[in-house]
């Protein structure tokens, strides 16, 4: 289990109840728990939905799953009236390598997820919420289910919540172990008991989502921020961050740093400071080689590219992405060839296989890089890998293809020299075999 960490530069919003036993409802209520939802209900039934959505819009909160879509705007797309029931869906399929923030929220503050989902339900007029945990988070399911049971016991969930006359129910569900269902429409398929393959959009979930009903689907961290925003006010939250990037964010800093951990930093915080000050710098006095900034799908940054602010827009300008906030720090001991192979192995394994470019593209990149890694590479393999990745970009059915192509392109473009040296055998310690030997071995 990860230890809780802290640093003076942190701007504590979401982490304020961490480490205090807030998974128990008594403690949660003592720490202003379920106050936000009551504050919303106090606005009166007519004003409440718009008040919530306006507050969310003012907060500048952008989706914490990785895409960074403004949350208030997303909620406002849900039609006011609908023949089919509306749903709130909390995406806890936290699977992006390098990302471990939702995990902490589930463990330390599960009630805030319940409360956030309730508020989202009140905002869009949904009576039902689902909290979907990735299959590997089964050990967190107990904590989450316990919290839901407590909320029902207190009468916070169910009929007539907090005397509002409105009902809200929550059901928890785990996945079966597929990265792909972190994609919102694949998650809905999975939740409906089907194969975890994305849906064609449009229609978007806000109009046709879970079981065909209008659905708001948000990342756990996004939803967990909601009660805090309602309590502190949208503008106050927005002020913590930078322009169009409101608030704070949980950054999971891992890899070759002295103090790895999940830190809550204001949006726009310097990446260099995050690595060298907050996370304590590179371990054992080694040199920084590269940073994967927002989960493994984000294009890599070289050591000389880390003077960048951690928000969606600055990262995009730097040619990469803020992603899910999982910063993986690589020191000089890392072989980029090996790291690229490890990365593509993950995406090849997790590709759902639905569309051709992703299914075949990830497979061939993996095969080619495997051969390069094992010493049978040729220079044209680097071109082939780049060609494959370029031809996957933007052409796949869902973003998984891009998620595999972007880091691959980053590695071969920014570290081409290292690939070439590796192929020429300048990297010690790897046996060289010929292509013929390799192909022959397979037959």
């Amino acid at each position: 289990m990860p230890r809780l960490v802290s640093h003076p530069d942190e701007a504590i919003v979401l982490k304020r109840r961490f480490g205090q036993g807030a998974a128990s409802i008594d403690k949660y209520v003592e720490l202003e728990g379920y106050a936000a939802v009551q504050k919303a209900i106090a606005q009166g039934p007519d004003a409440m939905p718009n008040w919530i959505i306006d507050t969310m819009k003012a907060s500048g909160l952008r989706g914490r799953g990785g895409a960074g879509f403004p949350t208030g705007l997303k909620w406002s797309f849900v039609p006011k009236t609908s023949a089919k029931p509306k749903y709130v869906l909390v995406n806890g399929d936290e699977s992006e390598p390098g990302t471990c923030k939702d995990h902490l929220i589930f463990r330390e503050d599960p009630h805030t997820i319940i409360e956030g989902a309730m508020i989202a339900g009140l905002a869009i007029g949904a009576k039902m919420g689902f909290i979907y945990l990735r299959g590997e988070y089964r050990y967190l399911l107990q904590i989450m289910e316990h919290a839901v049971a407590e909320a029902y016991e207190r009468g916070y969930l169910g009929k007539n919540i907090f005397g509002s006359g409105l009902d809200f129910d929550i059901v928890t569900q785990t996945g079966a172990g597929a990265y792909e269902v972190g994609e919102e429409s694949a998650l809905m398929e999975s939740l409906e008991g089907k194969r975890g393959v994305p849906r064609i959009r449009p229609p978007f979930p806000a109009v046709v989502g879970l079981y065909g009903g209008p659905t708001v689907i948000n990342n756990v961290e996004t939803i967990a921020n909601v009660p805090h925003i309602l309590l502190m006010g949208g503008e106050a939250y927005a002020k913590l961050g930078t322009e169009r990037n409101g608030g704070t964010r949980l950054f999971g800093i891992s890899g070759h740093v002295n103090r790895p951990g999940v830190y809550e930093l204001p949006m726009g915080y310097s990446m260099r400071k995050a690595i060298y000050e907050v996370a304590g710098g590179i371990r054992d006095g080694k040199q920084l080689k590269a940073v994967v900034p927002g989960g493994s799908s984000c294009p890599v940054l070289r050591a000389d590219e880390i003077d960048v602010g951690l928000d969606f827009d600055q990262m995009a300008k730097a040619g990469t992405m803020l992603g899910s906030g999982g910063i993986v720090v690589l020191d000089e001991t890392v072989s980029i060839v090996e790291f690229a192979l490890r990365t593509i192995k993950f995406y090849q394994h997790e590709s759902c296989g639905w569309c051709i470019p992703c299914r075949e593209g990830t497979d061939w990149i993996k095969k080619t890089l495997t051969r390069v890694y094992e010493g049978g590479g040729q220079k044209k393999d680097i071109d082939n890998v780049q060609y494959l990745a370029e031809n996957m970009m933007g052409r796949t059915f869902c973003p998984l293809g891009d998620a595999a192509a972007m880091p691959t392109l980053g590695f071969v473009k920014k570290f081409r020299k290292e690939f070439e040296d590796y192929i020429e055998g300048k990297k010690a310690g790897t046996p060289l075999i010929t292509v013929q030997e390799l192909v022959g071995a397979g037959h």
Partner: protein, 811 residues
């Protein structure tokens, strides 16, 4: 939806808003390649071949999911789009075995065509391809995983189209594989296989050679065959099947059946019989020489001259000595209209008998008479695909009329048509039904009565009175209704149901029969008491147009014996001769062979059936795939039959009837009006000279230019089409060009309105004459035992049933 205008590659195109871009482009002649897109099935956007550039949209868009809206601008052939498609093909070919030289689909493969077009032939990869062994999923379906491109057409075809759901995707990513519904662990031989209807639609939909037909694989290459589109001989739906034909030492052999051009009345659909059960034609048990019974009782081969001379002589003698009334004629359900017409004309005008009948699989006599005097009350098979509401009473289309079932399912799925079903069995189509009433045994009559307003009949119709009442209310509330009637209903019950339907403002009817030309046999008058077009036989009245046929034929004016009476007469020693053309009544009606011992029996057959085995002369006949002509399906849709295969030694029934008439000394020109001497014969379209539809008949051009007549032979069925058109009510409107170009046309039956109650005798008396064949998906009357594929599938089914039982017991 209102029309919108979009721009594709600089061209302005107009289409209803919301139409899929790929369809808009297709209708404008702009090709958008696609593997996963299949019209009518759910959208996938999986193959990424149909990507196009849309102005102001950052990523390439898939044309198969893009709905057009006003002002959109698309580019379909920019270098970027072409590169995207080429890269996708390169990825597919990376793992493709490229075994095109031995692949069944070689030459008919969408992957080949696309590679040819985009030139994605370069190979980048040094690693071995993923390989899996081929799998036999059923006697008729084989799967080669390495060729599969995972377009999921088969999965959707089976689930959405067939409502069978026997195929699905297993595993994920590059390990994804299409898998059949019986996994290896549950199979007796530990091999995964299919438990399904064996329709072969998955093979049809497969764009590559991943799914291949057990009946065809590795037999030939597509370009070595001639492809002839003709009408399936099996059930009464009349689907178009394209037969792949190859020359052999003794004629030409059918090697494949499929639905190649999808231009038929069946649209996308073809069932297992149309696809595989052509193989009876190649059966070694075919008779290819006439057989004549010797004094010692044995059937011995004889020459055509000997056999035909004998038949002609005996028929003449017996007719002259004992009278035409002692001769019986039984026709078949798989003859062409021209043959059926000629047979009854021969019986009436040459043999001078009205003792003529056929195995009736549905009561078309009652059907025609109940609808006499109405107009536009019968439906085409095509209307089952478009009708807003359908009432299906009796029948089991899934098993007996698979194309009808396909259309109904498709109509419900795509058009949200309302399907009402009343049946004494829980037929599979109830899964598509808006309302299903489970009738009691013998509940059809009471149902017809109840629908007509007789509330007292409710309890005899069905146990559940409430659902019956709401069923009737719903059916009666429909603004327009297509009433499909199974052959469980006959006589008075059928008439009552039709009478009920006629009280509704916009009801149309169809009666489902069992074989390719069951309807045509009845329409053409293979009936003892009705002339062609259900014209009653009675005293000649020169004022009555109904007497026109009888006058031309100078045929007997009293009704003859029906099929059962013919055999009764034989038993009583009163039948001098029996002429059976393409039928097996001895087996079908369980006739005691001893009954025929004093009757001269002539049988025209493909095989030595129970009936043929009793014959004095057996004449080897061509089947429906070896002749030209026309057939009429259950609905009354007329279609052309084209000669596909050939077998040395056999003749068409048409030719044999004419030759027998000739041997009897009859005036052949009066029987078949051919040549210049007969007024009213319009020039044929050259089919007999081998001209295909749409092609100029250069022989006719030359003959005409030289003041010679484009001649018809007396064996040409087209020679009698004019007479059918002239004399048979209902067939007068047929459009010859429509027929000869391979299209279907719906004909309305035009039974003469019944003047008095005399005609209605049919309705109360004839029940026992209508004998539904009760075929399943894997039987087809007497042909079943001669079709290896049907036999294989029958043998294969029991183990499926066993598995189902096992699974049920687990549940």
């Amino acid at each position: 939806m209102a029309d919108v205008t979009i721009t594709v590659d600089g061209k302005k195109l107009t289409a209803p808003a919301g139409t899929l871009l790929i369809e808009v482009c297709k209708s404008a002649g702009i090709e958008i390649p696609a593997f996963c897109y299949y019209p009518g099935l759910s959208l996938q956007a999986a193959c990424r071949m149909c990507v196009v550039r849309q102005e102001k949209v950052p990523k390439l868009q898939t044309a198969c999911t893009t709905q057009v809206a006003e002002g959109q601008v698309f580019f379909t052939d920019t270098p970027e789009v072409i590169q995207a498609r080429k890269a996708t093909l390169q990825l597919l070919l990376g793992n493709h075995p490229l075994d095109c030289p031995v692949c069944d689909a070689g030459g008919e493969c969408e992957l080949q065509d696309m590679t040819f077009k985009y030139g994605a032939a370069d190979s980048f990869y040094a690693e071995p391809k993923n390989h899996r062994e081929e799998q036999k999923w059923s006697p008729v379906v084989y799967f080669d995983r390495p060729r599969c491109i995972l377009c999921y057409r088969c999965v959707r075809m089976c689930g959405e189209g067939m409502d069978v759901f026997a195929l699905a995707v297993e595993n994920r990513g590059s390990s994804s594989i299409i898998a059949p519904n019986v996994p290896a662990q549950l199979a007796p031989d530990n091999l995964a296989h299919l438990d399904c209807e064996q329709c072969g639609m998955c093979i049809d939909a497969c764009p590559v050679g991943a799914l291949t037909s057990g009946a065809y694989r590795y037999k030939t290459r597509p370009w070595e065959m001639n492809h002839v589109a003709t009408i399936c001989t099996h059930c009464g739906d009349g689907c178009k099947t394209t037969l792949g034909v190859r020359s052999t030492a003794d004629g030409s052999e059918i090697v494949r059946g499929d639905n190649r051009d999808k231009s038929g009345i069946n649209g996308d659909f073809l069932c297992n019989k149309g696809r595989y059960a052509f193989d009876f034609a190649n059966n070694d048990a075919r008779i290819t020489q006439p057989l004549v019974r010797q004094p010692n009782g044995e059937l011995k081969p004889a020459s055509w001259e000997e056999a035909l001379t004998l038949v002609g002589k005996k028929f003449s003698e017996l007719r002259d000595a004992r009278g035409g009334k002692t001769i019986g004629v039984i026709g078949g359900n798989r003859l062409t209209n021209e043959e059926a017409y000629l047979l009854q004309k021969f019986a009436r005008s040459v043999l001078h008998t009205n003792n003529i009948d056929h195995h009736r699989t549905a009561d078309y006599v009652t059907f025609a008479q109940a609808l006499a005097g109405t107009a536009n009350r019968t439906a085409s098979l095509r209307e089952t695909l478009t009708a807003k509401a359908v009432l299906l009473v009796g029948g089991d289309p899934t098993n007996q009329s698979p194309a009808t079932a396909w259309n109904l399912r498709t109509n419900v799925r795509l058009n949200r048509a309302k399907l009402y079903i009343a049946n004494s069995e829980a037929i599979k189509l109830r899964r598509q039904a808006k309302a299903f009433v489970h009738l009691a045994e013998y509940g059809y009559g009471p149902l017809a009565a109840y629908l007509s307003g007789d509330d007292a009949a409710a309890s005899a119709a069905a146990a559940d009175a409430t659902s019956l009442a709401s069923f009737r209310d719903a059916v009666k509330a429909e603004e327009s209704l297509l009433i499909l009637i199974g052959n469980d209903l006959r006589g008075a019950e059928l008439k009552r149901l039709i009478d009920f339907g006629l009280t509704l403002p916009n009801a149309k009817f169809a009666l489902l029969a069992d074989y390719a030309n069951s309807r045509g046999a009845a329409d053409m008058g293979l009936l003892p008491d009705l002339l062609p077009g259900y014209t009653p036989i009675g005293p000649i009245d020169t004022q009555d147009p109904g007497s026109k046929i009888a006058i031309e034929y100078s045929s007997p004016t009293t009704p003859g014996l029906d099929l059962i009476e013919i055999f009764d007469a034989a038993t009583a020693g009163n039948l001098s001769a029996l002429y059976v053309v393409g039928a097996n009544p001895v087996a079908r009606y369980d006739v005691d062979p001893a009954a025929l011992k004093n009757t001269f029996v002539v049988v025209q057959e493909m095989f030595l059936t129970e009936t043929a085995a009793l014959a004095d002369v057996v004449l080897p006949a061509a089947n429906l795939y070896e002749k030209s002509g026309s057939v009429t399906n259950s609905y009354g849709d007329l279609q052309q039959v084209k000669k596909a295969a050939d077998r040395a030694g056999v003749r068409t029934d048409f030719e044999m009837i004419v030759r027998i008439a000739d041997k009897m000394g009859a005036d052949v020109r009066a029987l078949v009006p051919f040549g210049q001497a007969t007024a009213g014969t319009r020039a044929d379209m050259g089919q007999t000279r081998g001209v295909q539809a749409g092609e100029a008949d250069r022989y006719a051009v030359w003959l005409t230019a030289n003041n010679l007549e484009p001649r018809l032979s007396p064996f040409d069925p087209n020679a009698i089409l004019d007479e059918i058109q002239r004399l048979v009510p209902g067939y007068g409107d047929l459009l010859r060009l429509q027929l000869l170009s391979g299209n279907d046309q719906h004909l309305q039956p035009a039974a003469a309105p019944i003047k008095d109650n005399a005609g209605l005798v049919q309705i109360s008396n004839r029940r026992d004459l209508v004998l539904p064949a009760g075929d399943t998906l894997f039987t087809s009357g007497s042909l079943t035992r001669y079709s290896a594929s049907l036999n294989d599938l029958q043998q294969y089914q029991p183990r499926q049933t066993q598995i189902q039982i096992d699974q049920t017991s687990v549940e």
